[in-house]
């Protein structure tokens, strides 16, 4: 018996332009995450290490 659920599955071709749009949005999100990481995590870490004296580091 043929499964009617398989028959109603669409077989349309995906528009090619969609990929470009999605990938550019993804790149933008990645850039935002990277900048946030840089400002919120990496910079403070660097400054913290920079200001630490030798004694602080050994403790």
């Amino acid at each position: 018996m043929e499964n009617p659920f398989k028959k109603i599955l669409h077989q349309e071709e995906l528009p090619k332009k969609l990929k470009g749009k999605i990938m550019s949005d993804i790149s933008f999100i990645k850039l935002t995450i990277d900048i946030a990481d840089l400002l919120v995590v990496k910079y403070p870490e660097t400054i913290e290490n920079f200001l630490k004296t030798k004694e602080d580091k050994t403790n």
Binding site: M1, E2, N3, P4, F5, K6, K7, I8, L9, H10, Q11, E12, E13, L14, P15, L18, K19, K21, I22, M23, D25, I26, S27, I29, K30, I33
Partner: protein, 189 residues
């Protein structure tokens, strides 16, 4: 060139863990190429137009990129992606019409309970595709989701359990209710 050969050979699960580690968008493009046609055609089943389906596909892949780390590898990636896609589509459909449907469905459940006996898979497979499509567009999208997962994507009860994150008896109960609803709506058409 070497890296493209390598990425195309990676399994879905390996690819996903690489993307989570590196957040690399070119790797994500490989994942997109593998699954975008499938996701788009699933969206067409829920959307009212092609443009709406494109928007849905777009939003799903953006959300997928952000939420990819919630994939823990407890099921196959394709199974997880099915449920991710369906949940997104169901939320989309329900956004406008949830309240109205809930009110009408409650009455229907009470009237129906005693009338319909156990529905077998054969009863479901005998249905005509066109009328079935109409019936599926009328019933609650959550019921539509579980029926499509079971009969269109051929997921087993066990896979449904992990995909929906509910127990075995809950899956069977939801499936039973969904079948009852679709048959009832189908017969009214």
């Amino acid at each position: 060139m070497k890296s493209t050969v390598k990425t195309s050979q990676l399994s879905d699960e390996e690819l996903v863990s690489e993307i989570i580690k590196t957040k690399d968008s070119t790797l994500f493009a490989v994942l997109y190429d593998r699954y975008a046609p499938l996701v788009y055609n699933k969206c067409l089943g829920f959307a009212k137009s092609k443009v709406q389906a494109e928007d849905l596909t777009h939003d799903i892949f953006i959300k997928l990129y952000v939420k990819l780390n919630s994939f823990k590898g407890t099921s196959k990636f394709s199974t997880w992606l099915y449920s991710f896609t369906y949940n997104f589509c169901v939320n989309f459909v329900q956004r406008d019409s949830y309240k109205n449907k809930e009110e009408t469905n409650e009455g229907a459940i009470n009237n129906r309970a005693s009338v319909i006996d156990e529905i077998t898979d054969n009863d479901i497979l005998k249905l005509k595709a066109e009328k079935l499509q109409q019936a599926l567009s009328i019933i609650d999208p959550k019921d539509k989701m579980i029926l499509l997962m079971k009969y269109q994507d051929d997921l087993s009860i066990k896979e449904l359990q992990t995909a929906l994150d509910i127990g075995e008896s809950a899956v069977k109960m939801r499936l039973k209710r969904a079948k009852e609803k679709v048959i009832e709506t189908y017969n009214k058409l």
